[in-house]
Amino acid sequence: MNSEILVCIICPKACILNIEMENEKIISILGNKCKRGVDYAEKELTNPERALSSTVLIKGGVLPLLPVRSSKALPKDSLIKVMEVIDKTEVVAPVKIGDIIVKNVSNLGVDIIASRSMRKVI
């Protein structure tokens, strides 16, 4: 049996999770103030995921950059790879919030979407 200590990052309460494991399976978790902490611990110890936000260049918009995000959390170890794609992406205004900027990025089944609307400069 071995134990792990994790900080739950799902909400700002940041519960400290004390986890007991056996044969790579969680047998008990203490310290979570809600059930989402359990799901988080399971994910984090098997295949950790992170939400990603960044910006892409936008032409003709009121600002030179458009903020974007991943539509769902991405595998933690894919972030750098996805950033390379985002850094090479350029769009043209106008854009609406939620528009898909990169579809199925790096074949991960997740889209990169616009996190704000941006109108054209007139």
Binding site: I9, P12, S53, R116, S117
Partner: protein
């Protein structure tokens, strides 16, 4: 007196938007004055997620959170004056603002202050040494990278463990900028634990506690900083100095409510928060002038900002419609381990729930909220952990406070 608007909101960030939307529900004539070219406030540059969990039950980025409120405001008949900077407010609620058309004079039935906050700069925290370029506040760097497409530098040291610095550590690392470490004067981190984990630990960026920057080296551009460990009093310990070569220093050492305007109006500030002293209606010492959001006290979660702003909006509307009466108030005293409370004054007789926001002075591993009224303990909370970075809320209800109040103290009792 003839008013141009019933309610005028100064500042179009989440606080201003929430307050305006709420005031409008009473069918009043409402205006927002915003100095920027668009609404949304600081959220427009906070492209990371973590907003809205409390209010919408969804994990949104800053721009997504603000766009929801901007859409709501745009659907209604609320006057929005952009590129308009308020330069003066008188105690009889006349506002002077400037925009490209020149000076505007606006008479308001009620005013809501929602100017947000500013960052502590190098002057405010006094680092000696030369003045090369490459020293920015974390929020400035965030603006450069997220709005203006400029990179602050290549090798970065961050002073202070506030949330903005932590968020920027991750953002810069993902953009290929080397973040050498975060240095924090206090023996504990200032930012939220989740940010330490996902912004530093995930990228193996070291966090050095009880350590600070004692000197800055460089002629034109920053070349290095000298860091040193500090003792319990915060004084550098001789022999622990270390030179770190870097071209950029980010300061993430705290936010201060923006209240230059308010002071000129004659509004009294709370020395502990630098925001106005307010009663349970979030009204300042000047009748008809209300405050909310980061202009009132620094919030780490925008969801609380919105909730607080809605209260200010409601109470401002009530004031205009003559629905508030002057009640007798008592002062709320921050007790042991409590740095401040908002509001500062509450009525002697409580007939609806009052949200009492407070922060602790230091991290407490195990303690209980203890509320005393009229010298007697009226509430003792469950055992819990408390951190200065986390704003706490205590609900004062008629059930908890049955009798008329003469004093009220909120404290945290440490359990050993």
């Amino acid at each position: 007196m003839e008013f141009n608007y019933d309610v005028v909101v100064v500042g179009g960030g989440p606080a201003g938007l929430g307050a305006a939307a709420k005031a409008k529900e009473s069918g009043l004539k409402v205006a927002i004055l915003e100095r920027n070219f668009e609404l949304g406030g600081i959220l427009n540059q906070c492209i990371h997620s973590g907003f809205g969990l409390g209010y919408f039950g969804e994990d949104l980025t800053g721009p997504e959170y603000s766009e929801r409120f901007i859409d709501l405001i745009n659907e209604q008949d609320i006057e929005i004056l952009l590129n308009t900077m308020v330069i003066e407010i008188t105690s009889d609620r006349e506002i002077t603002a400037v925009n490209k058309n020149g000076l505007l004079k606006i008479k308001a039935g009620a005013i809501i202050l929602a100017m947000g906050c500013r960052e502590r700069t190098r002057g405010a925290i006094k680092i000696p040494g030369s003045r090369p370029s490459g020293v920015f506040t974390a929020g400035q760097a965030q603006r450069y990278m997220n709005l203006e497409n400029l990179k602050p530098g290549k090798k970065v040291v961050i002073l202070g463990s506030g949330d903005i610095g932590l968020i920027m550590a991750r953002r810069m690392t993902l953009e290929g900028i080397k973040v050498l470490g975060v240095y924090e004067l206090m023996p504990y981190a200032n930012g939220l634990q989740r940010n330490i984990k996902q912004c530093l630990d995930d990228f193996k960026i070291p966090l050095h506690l009880s350590t600070t920057v004692i000197d800055i080296i460089g002629k034109n551009r920053l070349e290095a900083v000298i860091v040193a460990q500090v003792d319990e009093k915060g004084n550098p310990i001789e022999g622990t100095e270390e030179k770190i070569e870097c071209d950029t220093l980010l300061l993430s050492t705290g936010l201060i409510p923006e209240n230059e305007l308010s002071v000129k109006t004659g509004i009294i500030l709370n020395k502990l928060t630098n925001g106005p002293l307010v009663n349970a209606n979030l009204e300042t010492n000047i009748r008809g002038i209300f405050a909310c959001g980061n202009a009132l006290h620094v919030h780490d979660l925008v969801d609380y900002v919105t909730k607080e702003a809605e209260l200010a909006g409601q109470k401002a509307a009530d004031f205009v419609r003559g629905k508030t009466s002057l009640s007798e108030n008592i002062e709320v005293t921050p007790g042991e381990n409590v740095r401040y409370t908002v509001p500062n004054y509450i009525p002697t007789h409580i007939d609806g729930a009052i949200k009492l926001y407070f922060r602790v002075t230091k991290p407490i591993e195990s303690g209980r909220i203890v509320v005393k009224a009229n010298g007697k303990t009226i509430f003792t909370g469950k055992e819990d952990a408390f951190k200065p970075s986390e704003m706490m809320i205590f609900y004062l209800t008629p059930k908890v406070v049955a009798e008329n109040l003469s004093d009220l103290t909120v404290a945290i009792k440490e359990e050993k």
